[in-house]
């Protein structure tokens, strides 16, 4: 986009910015860009009004210039497509957070979401939870068994004073800061995910 185009401003450059914002942050979810989204649908509205005006003229038989009807429609679709792509990419990342953090989103992620996205996360979370609850007898946590099991036990280090923890076969373990443990993999998969425990060699 040479500077020449800049002042004329491409009709869909705002939409393009939306998509690029996601491309530039592959790992961290940037905050929801309400302002840029608003500018996009205002641009669509502007184009729509122009087309509506031309259609009025046609109905009224007045002289009109219909050459831009089609390009404006294509531009509107293109902007909408970019907006959908932006929301869709964020939706996919939000889904992956459910599988990474379980039901509770860390604050850093939550602050980056708009209300609709938070509602989507909650709806998705409960949908998944309901699905998991009628798997087998007492339900299955699909976050567990995330990789082919290599060994029954894993060696972990406690990164914080987590306190009392009971393993599946009933032994009590005191997870104090900087303590090492050999625990059944199943029991600590969730704690590893939440950053309480760290896998050590």
């Amino acid at each position: 986009m040479s500077s020449g185009d800049q002042n004329r401003g491409g009709v869909a450059d705002k939409a393009l910015q939306l998509v690029l914002e996601m491309k530039r942050n592959p790992d961290v979810l940037p905050p929801y860009n309400t302002e840029l989204v608003r500018q996009c649908y205002q641009k669509i509205d502007e184009l729509f009004q122009k087309n509506a005006a031309v259609v009025e003229k046609i109905r009224a038989g007045l002289p009109h210039d219909s050459t831009l009807l089609q390009p404006r429609l294509a531009a509107m679709c293109h902007i909408r497509r970019c907006m959908m792509a932006y929301v869709n990419e964020r939706k996919n990342r939000i889904r992956s957070f459910r599988w990474k953090y379980g039901g509770a989103l860390p604050a850093s992620v939550r602050n980056a979401l708009c209300d609709a996205e938070i509602q989507f996360f909650n709806e998705y979370s409960s949908t998944l939870a309901r699905f998991q609850s009628n798997l087998g007898e007492g339900g299955v946590n699909l976050l567990l068994h995330s990789a082919p099991p290599k060994s029954l036990f894993v060696q972990v280090r406690a990164l914080e004073d987590y306190g009392e923890f009971e393993t599946s076969d009933g032994t009590q373990v005191q997870l104090s800061k900087d303590s090492l443990h050999s625990l059944p993999r199943q029991d600590c998969e969730m704690l590893i995910r939440q950053g309480v425990l760290e896998l050590v060699h």
């Binding site: 390009p71 294509a74 293109h78 082919p148």
Partner: protein, 180 residues
């Protein structure tokens, strides 16, 4: 499907071990019974169980007969000579990888075995790669027969196939979305 899952599936294949413990009651697993074990008497159990018992010093693994230097040399020569892929025992690469990693002392000349298996893999990989390029370049047929391909080779090839397909999609997209 990736290498990790291939190794997981390979874990179900059977292998011979010599247990160092005796237990007259077989273990009724969901995937079938194993044992009973009699110290010193070889018996066949799944590879994953063999590795588990090996780690607990409860058995010695008997390397499969194909996992021997001369045998592997024969396979390597037949692989070099033949055009297509030679027939290999199922999960050939995964089983040798697992045994070299977890039952190192039970394999005779483990280092030679390791490098021979690697050579065989490279030889076959070169064949698969060149036939894949050829296949993608031509447009006469959308089918290729490659008997004896191993699961692990198919899963790694699928990644390249998928990439080519996406390339095609991107190119098609470009044409469609070019302004009128």
């Amino acid at each position: 499907m990736n290498a990790e899952r291939c190794e997981f599936i390979a874990g179900n294949s059977l292998i011979e071990v010599i247990p160092s413990i005796s237990d007259d009651r077989p273990i009724h697993l969901i995937s079938g019974d194993i044992g009973p074990f009699e110290a010193g008497v070889p018996c066949r159990i799944p590879v994953w169980t063999a590795i588990l018992m090996k780690r607990k010093h409860n058995c010695k693994v008997v390397a499969p007969q194909w996992m021997d230097v001369d045998e592997l040399k024969k396979i390597l020569t037949s692989e070099t000579e033949s055009q297509g892929l030679a027939k290999l025992p199922d999960h050939f690469f995964e089983i040798s990888h697992m045994l070299v990693r977890d039952a190192r002392e039970d394999i005779f000349e483990v280092e030679a075995v390791k490098s021979l298996v690697q050579d065989i893999y490279d030889r076959r990989d070169a064949k698969l790669r060149s036939s894949a390029i050829e296949f993608l370049r031509q447009n006469q047929t959308c089918h290729a027969q490659l008997d004896n391909v191993q699961l692990i080779e198919a899963s790694s090839a699928r990644a390249t196939l998928e990439a080519c397909r996406q390339m095609g999609a991107v190119v098609r997209n470009k044409h469609e979305s070019t302004p009128l």
